[in-house]
Symmetry: C2
Subunit: 362 residues, 2 copies
């Protein structure tokens, strides 16, 4: 499957135009575009511009409000709940993280749970916002139910990612961004294009049997929690996904568990709606609320250098620090451009015609 390279600026202008055309303000379109394209830059192709038409379809289905009144509905000195008014998660999550950062400035830490939102792109984009203030950042979100808990046939949780970002000194920041499943949906899509099977432990079929069919989700199957099966700790992956759901939705009043609204606009909404929209959780912790940031960052450098100098198993890659692969992509793609598959380009051009803006390429 062939692909073409686009500069960040090309994709930025195109994406921002789309968001403006559906009614987003200049500021919101800017914020959303930065959040969405951070995925393309960091090599998480499944969560970037390839999803732009999906967001627009949610807007067309009146499930995304392009002019939301995002507001705090409850707060204490260190916490807040934000109502996203059905806006783009790509805009709501940065709004919530700004509140967390302000609270951290005041009382050491800030924690914001969000209801009534939509998908927020990659967690790392939001979790990295506090780094510039010598703060750690935390971001989580719940998502469409695709994951079966250990022993279950039913899909009860999303891929519910957790991201933690911590600043370092001379070394780049530590950024761990992980779906709480063995493999995220994007990995399955790559195998589908190659017509290849998955390893065992990634998915199960509609009856709960182990499967290696990369198309199994379309046949009623499910993703498996990190660990894969009980013997390999899938109850831990399940527990982590559950924790994300509780922080993101039970604390905020969003929908949870199998009642989270699906991302594809053609999938009907769950009949039951125990909360509002989907939920996120954003946190910021001022390092010097614990110890001087210079000392922390010096220790982080030492920590990172310790891991980089591990003896590597013969034949394997060198030991990486969380965030290394994504940072590598970011540098390369900012310089050389972002590759898009032909199917994605075609989809974006169709979208451009639908919303009456210039095509990405002719």
């Amino acid at each position: 499957m062939s692909e073409q390279l686009f500069s960040y600026k090309q994709l930025f202008d195109f994406t921002k135009s789309v968001f403006q055309t559906i009614g987003c303000s200049d500021e919101h379109a800017d914020t959303a575009t930065k959040a969405l394209l951070s995925a393309d830059l960091r090599g998480i192709d499944s969560h970037g511009v390839a999803r732009l038409s999906g967001y627009v379809r949610l807007w067309e289905a009146k499930r995304i409000n392009a002019t939301p009144d995002i507001k705090i509905i409850h707060e204490t000195p260190s916490t807040a709940v934000v109502d996203g008014d059905s806006g783009l998660g790509l805009v709501i999550a940065p709004f919530a993280m700004e509140i967390a950062i302000e609270k951290a400035k005041q009382v050491g830490t800030g924690w914001v749970s969000v209801q009534n939102s939509n998908h927020f792109g990659i967690a790392a984009h939001h979790a990295m916002m506090p780094l510039q203030y010598d703060m750690m950042g935390i971001a989580m979100t719940n998502a469409s139910p695709l994951v079966a808990p250990t022993f279950s046939i039913d899909k009860m949780l999303g891929t519910n990612p957790i991201c933690v970002a911590a600043p370092a000194g001379s070394e780049p920041a530590f950024v761990a961004d992980l779906a709480t499943t063995t493999a995220a949906n994007g990995k399955l899509e790559i195998l589908q294009r190659k017509n290849a099977d998955t390893p065992t432990g990634w998915v199960q079929d509609a009856d709960g049997n182990s499967s290696t069919d990369a198309n199994i989700l379309k046949k009623g199957g499910a993703l498996l929690p990190l660990g894969g099966d009980r013997e390999h700790g899938s109850h831990k992956g399940y527990a982590l996904g559950a924790i994300v759901d509780i922080f993101s939705a039970l604390l905020s009043g969003a929908n949870y568990a199998p009642w989270v609204p699906p991302f594809p606009a053609y999938v009907p909404m769950p009949a039951q709606q125990p909360g509002k929209g989907i939920g996120h959780f954003l946190g910021a912790m001022r390092i010097d609320a614990f110890r001087p940031a210079t000392e922390f960052k010096k220790d982080m450098d030492h920590w990172i250098q310790g891991f980089r100098s591990c003896r590597t198993i013969p034949g394997e890659e060198k030991v990486l620090v969380p965030g290394d692969p994504e940072r590598g992509f970011e540098i390369e793609r900012m310089n050389k451009g972002i590759p898009l598959l032909d199917v994605v380009i075609e989809d974006l051009n169709k979208l451009a015609e639908r919303v009456s803006i210039s095509l990405l390429i002719n």
Copy 2:
């Protein structure tokens, strides 16, 4: 291997006597005993009274201070760092969690990172403390380096557990307590006694090759992060263990990564000591800092009931909610007694002779 049953009271009195004999105050001995035996009650036999003589050996080696001056060395309205003065983690962690709870009462959440501590028993005991106040509890700790990051031969992290506890209404609380490895050391010990192999994905040998030898840690091998190998997401388990290390030790100024002091007193201390003792992280979040606790707990009941009514894969156990197995053990063992293996009883009787208290049984 045969075992005998002991009442909670028998083990409580015995354990408390041991802690008092090494010099702990009545209050500290009480706190430490409750923390230690919560593991036996909850079925985590590897972390309970079976480790009592290990704690005493650390005291004999002057690595545990029985009369610590535990104090806050830095704080903001929502955070604190506690210096444990080389005391028992079993005493220091509850002290730190009380501070977190007080801060949560004041500003919504409280977060305490701890330096200069020792092993704190099971994370769940501490994470469950805030539940009675309608708060969520979080507990983490770093630990002796037994785990090799993805692609590494070197052991760089401990089993670094994470526990999150959340109150429910008519349902019992959600309590997820998980080591960030595929299997914790205690699981290996069970297989060693049975002379059985481990499944693949639990351990590797001294050269980094996949292994199924339950005794491999004694031969220079390592535990593997949750996921087992790269293809099954071990980089995620590694990232989670790293996050725990950062929260517990980098934020507090404790030792981190391979420089965490080992639990067995006969293992020499690492030559390098970048921090003080081992580190923990304790958090408390007031539910009503986000939304009314009655609403949250009603939704938690609905969440829990949703998971309990999942269709179960034929031939498997029913779908459990995190905390179910441990609560089952707790009810059974409080009523019927706590089983101890003969080797453990023998070890405890030797300990009793050494510290001149009455034997556990004659």
